[in-house]
Amino acid sequence: MQMKFAASALLALSVIPLSASADGEVNIYSYRQAFLLEPLLNAFTEETGVETNVVFAKNGLSERLEREGDNSPADLVMTVDISRLSELVEKDLTASVSNPTLEENIPENLRHPEGKWFALTTRGRMIYTSVDRVDEGEITTYEQLADDKWNDRICTRSGKHPYNIALISSMIAHHGEEETEKWLQGVKDNLARKPQGGDRDQIKAIAEGVCDIAIGNSYYYGAMLEDENQRPAAEKARMVFPNSDGRGTHINISGVALTKSAPNRENAIKLMEFLSEQKAQHIYAEANTEYPANPAVEASGMVASWGDLNPDSLSLQEIADNRNTAVRMVDRVDYDN
C-alpha cells in the first residue's frame, strides 16, 4: 500500500513535463534569484516564442554542471559576480562565443577576451556617509577608509562576502599585497561593530547611529529608496563614488556564460543577444537600479541622479585572479571578528 503510494507519487512528479514549445527552449542555471530574472525572460519569450527554464541556487550549480558533463541540460549560467564566472572558465565549462551583436553591445573590458563570459550589468561598490555626521567630500577614496579619523565609525558586511573580496582583490591589483594588507588592517581597526548582515543593513546602521560610514553596492541603495519602509533610513545616508577623480570606482558585474555542452546553443545565444540589447538592458536598469553594461543604454532616472560613475578600468579577470589572496588576507587580519 505504502509502496504503491510512494511509487505513484514519485511517478507523478517525475513526469511533470518541461513544456518545450515549438520554438524551442533555453535552460539556465542561475546564481541570481529567479524572480529577478522573470521580467527579462518573459520579455524574451514574448518576443521570440522561446521558452526559458531556470534553476536558482547560491552554490553547487557549477559542481552540478561539471558532473553532468556533456549530457547536462544547462545552456547558460547566470551569475552575480565575476568570481563565479571565472571559476566556470577555470573548470573549462564555458564555450567561446564570437558574436557581432554581443561584441558591439558589451564593451571589451566587460567581456572575456575569448567570449567565455559577458557582463550584463555593472554595479559600483560605493561608500555611504552619514548626512548628519560626515561632511560632503570628507571621504572620497577607498584608501581613506583606513584613516585613524574613522576609528569606530565604519560598518561593512562580512569581509568574506564576494563583493568585499572583489573590492579587496582590486586593491591588491592596484597597491600590491603588502600595502593592501596594511590598509585592510586599518579598515578593520576602524570598524564600529563586528561585520554582519547584508549591504542594506550597513546603510541602516548609519541611520541608527551605529556608524558614520558604510560600504555597499549601488543597487541596494536604489532598492531601499524605492521601498517605502526603508526610504527614511536610506535618506540618512549620502552616496559617495569612491576614487572618482582617480582610477575610478571599483565595479563588479552580473554576467552570463554559454556552457560547453549547451544542447540549445542557438536559442541560448539568441537570449544572450537579447539580454545585451536596448530592451533588456533597460529593464535591468529600471527594475534593479543597476548600471547597464551596454553603453548605448542610459541608467535609470534615479541612478543617473546619483551622479556619473567613473568605473575603474582594471580588468575583471585580474580581480578574479586575486580572489584567493584576498580571502586569505581577510582571515589573517581577522576581519570578521
Binding site: L13, N59, R67, D70, N71, E87, D201, V210
Partner: protein, 562 residues
C-alpha cells in the same frame, strides 16, 4: 522509540530467528546501505583531491575560532534543548495542571518552524528598527543606538537560542515517549525507599530515559552542527561557515569535503562515547505500563510553574514567529499571493510524503535485518546508512550529484553504444534525485527510532510466530508492524516535517522551474525581503502542524496499545 540497548542476547536466539529465507533480508540490507551510503562516500572521495592543502592556513588563522564557536554553539544548544525538552516532557507526563492536554501537542509546534525563518523573524523584531527597540526608545527618550545597550541578536547567543527553540521538540518527543513507557511502580518503589520526587527523577527516571534522550539530543546536535542558514545570517563563524568559505571563496571543494569529514568524525565520536558510557546497561521493557499514569496533584504555585515552563518554548518558538509572519502575510498579501503557491505546496507535500514513506520502508528493512542478524557487521551497516544526517545539506547534495551523474552518463554511453539511444540524464535533475537526497539525509531519523523500538520487542514473539509457521516477512507484517504502529507513524511524520523544511539540497538538486515552499521562501529571504516571503513561510509552518498533531496523538495512543 526509546531504551535502545545493546541486546547481545539476541545472538543466542540466532538459529531460531535466522534461517534460509532471511538471507534475502541480509542481502537487501547490504544493497540498500550501499546505495544510501554512496553520497557520503562520494564526499570522502572528494576529500582526497583538494585544490591545495587548506589546513596550514586554517590552523594559522581561523580554525581555533571555528572550533571554539562550534563547540560553544553545540554545548549551548544541548543545554537549552535538554532543559526545555526534558522539563516540559516530565511536566506534561506526570503532573496534572490546567492546559496539560493542550501543551502535550502544542510543545511540538516549534518543530514546524524552520530555523532560518525564526532567525529572520527575531532579527526583524529585535534589531534597531524593530518594534521592540522603537518602543524602548520612545519610553526612555533615547535617540540613537549609541545611547543604550541592547543584546545583539546577531551573535553566538542569538543563534543558540534560535536553534534551541526549534530543535528542542526532538528531545521533548523522545523523552516524553520514554517517560510514558516507564513503569509507574518504579517511581513508587523509589519514593517508598525514601527518595523525594526530585531525587527519584534524577536517580531513577532520568537514567532509564537516557538512551531515548541521547537519541533526541544527537539528532539536535547533528542538525546544529550542519546548520548554515542561521549561523551565516548571524555572522557566527562555525566549522560549517568555514566549510562554505573554503568551498565558495577559495574554490576548494576537496578542502570543504575534508572539513565535512572532520565534522562527521566529530559526530561519530560523540555518539560512540555516549554508547560506550552506558555499555554495561541493559534495559527491558517493563510489563506493567498498562497501568494508567498516576499524575501528581500540584499546589497552585507549582501549577503556575508548570504552565510557565511549558508556555515559554511554545510562545517564543511558535506563537511569536507565527504572529510576525501572519502580520507580514496580511500586510503584503497582494504582492505575495499568487497561484504558484498551490503548485509549490503540492510539490512540497508530494516530495515530503514520498520521502517519508521511502525512509520508513528502508528504515524498517534495515532495522528488521539487524534483528534477524544481530552481528557486528549489521551494526556497522546501520551506522553507515545513517551518516547522511551528519553532513551539511549542500555538501550532501554534491555527494548525491557525483554518483548519480556518473551513473546517468555511464548508462547513456552504454545505451548509445549498444542501441544508438540517447538517454541523457535519466535521474539527475529530477524529483527522484530530491527524494533520494531526502532519504539519505533523513534515514537516520526513521531507522534509528525503528531500530530501538524493535529491540524492545521480546524475541519470544518472533519465536512464537515462527514456530506457528510464519516466515520472517510474515512475522514482520503480522507481529511487529502492529506493535510498532505508533513508532512508525511518528518516524514518518518527523521525516515529513524535516523534508518540508529542507532547503540547501533542494536548491541544488531540483529540476528546472521547480519550487518547493522552502525554496520559494528562500528566493525572497535571500534578497533581504522577509515581508514577501512571510506568506509561504507561514504555509510551511501550517503544513507542519497537521502531522505534528497526528504525531502527538499517535504517542498518546501508543500508551494504550502497549
Amino acid at each position: 522509540m526509546n531504551q535502545a540497548v545493546d541486546t547481545n542476547e539476541y545472538q543466542t536466539h540466532q538459529p531460531l530467528l535466522a534461517g534460509h529465507t532471511s538471507r534475502r533480508w541480509l542481502f537487501s540490507a547490504f544493497a540498500t546501505t550501499f546505495i544510501v551510503a554512496l553520497p557520503v562516500f562520494a564526499v570522502f572521495y572528494l576529500a582526497l583531491f583538494p585544490e591545495e592543502n587548506i589546513w596550514p592556513h586554517l590552523i594559522d588563522t581561523t580554525l581555533p575560532r571555528y572550533l571554539d564557536n562550534t563547540i560553544r554553539l553545540m554545548l549551548g544548544v544541548a543545554f537549552l534543548t535538554l532543559f526545555l525538552g526534558v522539563s516540559t516532557a516530565w511536566a506534561v507526563t506526570v503532573c496534572e495542571f490546567p492546559g496539560r492536554r493542550f501543551f502535550e501537542w502544542a510543545l511540538l509546534l516549534p518543530f514546524a518552524v524552520p530555523a532560518y525563518v525564526i532567525a529572520y523573524v527575531y532579527t526583524d523584531l529585535l534589531d534597531y528598527a524593530g518594534p521592540v527597540q522603537i518602543a524602548l526608545r520612545d519610553w526612555f527618550g533615547w535617540t540613537s543606538a549609541r545611547d543604550y545597550w541592547f543584546p545583539q541578536i546577531r551573535s553566538l547567543g542569538g543563534a543558540t537560542v534560535m536553534i534551541g527553540l526549534v530543535l528542542y521538540p526532538y528531545v521533548y518527543l523522545l523523552s516524553r515517549a520514554a517517560f510514558l513507557e516507564q513503569s509507574p511502580s518504579l517511581f513508587a518503589v523509589s519514593r517508598s525507599l525514601g527518595h523525594s520526587a526530585l531525587s527519584t527523577f534524577f536517580r531513577v527516571v532520568l537514567p532509564i530515559a537516557r538512551p531515548a534522550i541521547a537519541v533526541g539530543l544527537s539528532l539536535v546536535l547533528m542538525e546544529t552542527l550542519n546548520d548554515f542558514g542561521t549561523v551565516d545570517f548571524f555572522a557566527v563563524q562555525t566549522l560549517t561557515a568555514g566549510l562554505f568559505d573554503t568551498w565558495m571563496n577559495l574554490g576548494n571543494l576537496g578542502g570543504a569535503a575534508q572539513i565535512a569529514t572532520v565534522m562527521l568524525s566529530f559526530v561519530l565520536i560523540l555518539v560512540t562515547l555516549e554508547r560506550y558510557s552506558r555499555r554495561r546497561q541493559k534495559q527491558f521493557s517493563a510489563r506493567d505500563n498498562r497501568q494508567p499514569v498516576h499524575r501528581f496533584r500540584l499546589t497552585p504555585a507549582r501549577k503556575a510553574l508548570c504552565i510557565t515552563v511549558c508556555a515559554v518554548p511554545v510562545v517564543f518558538g511558535f506563537v511569536i514567529p507565527g504572529l510576525v509572519l501572519g502580520y507580514y502575510a496580511v500586510e503584503y498579501f497582494e504582492q505575495s499571493w499568487n497561484t504558484e503557491f498551490f503548485s509549490n505546496a503540492l510539490n512540497s507535500l508530494l516530495l515530503s510524503a514520498t520521502a517519508a514513506m521511502t525512509t520508513l520502508v528502508i528504515g524498517l528493512t534495515l532495522a528488521y535485518s539487524r534483528r534477524l542478524h544481530d552481528t557486528p557487521g549489521m551494526r556497522v551497516l546501520m551506522r553507515l546508512s545513517s551518516l547522511g544526517y551528519a553532513m551539511p545539506g549542500a555538501v550532501l547534495a554534491v555527494g548525491v550529484i557525483v554518483p548519480m551523474a556518473s551513473f546517468d552518463n555511464w548508462l547513456d554511453g552504454l545505451m548509445e553504444h549498444w542501441f544508438g539511444l540517447d538517454t541523457g540524464l535519466l535521474l539527475s535533475g529530477t524529483t527522484f534525485a530530491l527524494v533520494f537526497a531526502y532519504t539519505v539525509r533523513f534515514l537516520a531519523v526513521s531507522a534509528g527510532s525503528i531500530e530501538s523500538a524493535l529491540q524492545k520487542v521480546t524475541p519470544s514473539m518472533d519465536m512464537a510466530a515462527r514456530s506457528l509457521g510464519q516466515g520472517p516477512a510474515g512475522t514482520l507484517i503480522h507481529v511487529h508492524l502492529p506493535i510498532l504502529r505508533g513508532t512508525l507513524l511518528t518516524a514518518a511524520l518527523v521525516v515529513f516535517v524535516d523534508c518540508m523544511k529542507e532547503l540547501p539540497a533542494t536548491l541544488i538538486l531540483r529540476p528546472f522551474n521547480f519550487d518547493t515552499l522552502a525554496t520559494y521562501v528562500y528566493q525572497f529571504a535571500s534578497d533581504e525581503m522577509l515581508s514577501r516571503s512571510a506568506l509561504p513561510a507561514l504555509i510551511i509552518v501550517l503544513a507542519g502542524i497537521v502531522p505534528i498533531i497526528l504525531m502527538s496523538r499517535s504517542i498518546g495512543q501508543s500508551r494504550s496499545f502497549n
